[in-house]
């Protein structure tokens, strides 16, 4: 991010900011680092979409099916208790998973659903415990979410953030690290 971006507040605008959206690809290059710290990807990732009408969501579904038609059967659609919609994708190859998710988001934005994307969530496992990396499209940054029963393991999150910030754009303002409880990954 350049000086002018800071002055004009270009970071943190919704949907259409392409430079920010590309930051999600950082997670691919951070993969080796994640693995070296004992974080194994679960092979699943999800896009969380704000509540919308059934007909709109059907359009989203058909858009997505079209854009990743070759990969059919390796993704699912679901809703959660907050009324949000999810597109969950599965792929054991992490790079491919990120690519798939990113191309889906691109096609959603192309079809005018960019404003509806809340975040993307990647699932990891460390010693059997779930760790999530959440990517906020509004802010163009990642943050960790480590649930611990009904609480969150903040110490672990702060530690993870300090390790990962070398490889990816980690959200500096910890007050924006809103959890995503029980993501359907």
């Amino acid at each position: 991010m350049g000086l002018f971006d800071t002055i004009f507040g270009r970071r943190g605008r919704a949907g259409s900011d392409w430079e920010a959206n590309e930051r999600i690809l950082d997670i691919s290059s951070a993969f080796t680092m994640l693995e070296s710290h004992g974080m194994k990807p679960t092979g699943s990732a999800g896009i969380c979409l704000k509540p919308m009408s059934d007909s709109d969501f059907e359009r989203v579904i058909s858009d997505v099916n079209e854009s990743i038609s070759g990969e059919r059967g390796r993704h699912k659609y679901t809703a959660d208790e907050y009324g949000y919609h999810w597109i969950v994708m599965y792929n054991d190859e992490f790079d491919r998973l990120v690519e798939l998710l990113h191309s889906t988001v691109k096609s959603l934005i192309k079809n005018g659903f960019g404003e509806r994307i809340l975040c993307a969530v990647f699932g990891f496992l460390e010693d059997g415990n779930r760790i999530y990396l959440v990517y906020s499209y509004k802010r163009g940054s990642f943050y960790p979410f480590v649930p611990l029963d009904t609480k969150r393991d903040m110490e672990k999150e702060v530690k993870l953030a300090s390790i990962l910030k070398k490889e990816m754009n980690i959200e500096k303002d910890a007050s924006c690290w809103y959890p995503i409880w029980n993501p359907p990954l």
Partner: protein
């Protein structure tokens, strides 16, 4: 295990020495300019008085401004026991112990020398930390006392204080003087501004090096750098800022997206009295690995 050799970090010592040397150079230059000033002796005497008062009353002043209360053994037996044990290990006379009634977890040490030292902790700290972590934090504060940080930093800020004073009031000395005097006062004024700014940054750097040294001290006293690391994470305040409300729930409010991302990294780095959390943790982890090898 009993013989704890307090190894010095060579790099840290060099950086600390260079900072103090630079500070001395700036101060001597400033004093050289100031010494031709008519009221120089008065300014210096006033400052010396201030320095003396600050050193002599530092403990009471700090305690009073922080709202700290000295507690006896009967009131905080566990705290006293920990400090006694650590003092034996660190070869220090036992300081007074004070408690500040606030939820913010923090600790500090003050006092002009080992005999008049006070260690204070907040009630929030006692609540947040485990016993081992509390030990690590107290050992860090005792290291500040052992390293005479209060004295060093007060003396280091002394001329800076003079510069600040001259910077603010130089204009009053100029009234009624001749043209030559006025030109001279302008010179003094500019010199004091430069001295104040440069010394401010240098003192902050010195303070950060002293924090690293106290972290090291704590690790050597307790033998467990890991406890200080986890305590630092807990005190950092970063964890307090992490929200627990679900993103999907707060998204409706939409308020938090307005906050601009100001990247003032360098400025924060130069002006802060404590090193960033990550750097302290990194230094402690290096130390941990070193200690495991012994």
């Amino acid at each position: 295990m009993v013989t704890r050799t307090y190894k010095r970090d060579f790099g840290l010592t060099v950086r600390m020495f260079l900072t103090m040397l630079l500070l001395a150079v700036v101060y001597i230059g400033f004093l050289a300019i100031l010494s031709r000033f008519m009221m120089f002796t008065w300014v210096l005497m006033f400052a010396a008085l201030m320095l003396f008062a600050q050193l002599y009353y530092s403990d009471k002043l700090v305690l009073w401004s922080m709202g700290a209360r000295i507690v006896g053994r009967e009131e905080a037996p566990e705290l006293h026991a920990i400090v006694e044990k650590l003092c034996t290990l660190a070869d220090l006379p036992k300081p007074k112990i004070a408690i500040v009634d606030t939820n913010v977890p923090n600790a500090f040490a003050t006092g002009r020398n080992k005999k008049n030292a006070v260690v204070a902790v907040t009630t929030g700290l006692l609540r947040t930390l485990s016993r081992n972590e509390l030990e690590a934090v107290l050992a860090h504060e005792l290291s500040h006392i052992k390293n005479k940080d209060m004295l060093v930093l007060t003396i280091a800020s002394f001329i800076s204080m003079v510069a600040f004073f001259v910077m603010r009031y130089a204009i009053f000395f100029g009234i009624g003087g001749g043209r030559r005097d006025n030109a001279y006062i302008l010179l003094v004024w500019v010199a004091s501004i430069i001295t104040w700014i440069v010394s401010f940054i240098l003192i902050r750097a010195l303070s950060r090096y002293r924090e690293f040294a106290a972290d090291r001290g704590s690790a050597f006293i307790t033998g467990r750098p890991r406890d200080l690391i986890s305590a630092l994470y807990k005190i950092s305040g970063k964890m307090q800022r992490i929200p627990t409300e679900d993103l999907r729930k707060v998204e409706g409010l939409n308020a938090f997206f307005i906050i601009p991302a100001v990247s003032g990294d360098l400025i924060t780095k130069l002006f802060s009295t404590h090193p960033p959390l990550e750097e302290r943790v990194k230094a402690l982890e290096t130390l941990e690995k070193m200690m495991e090898r012994i």
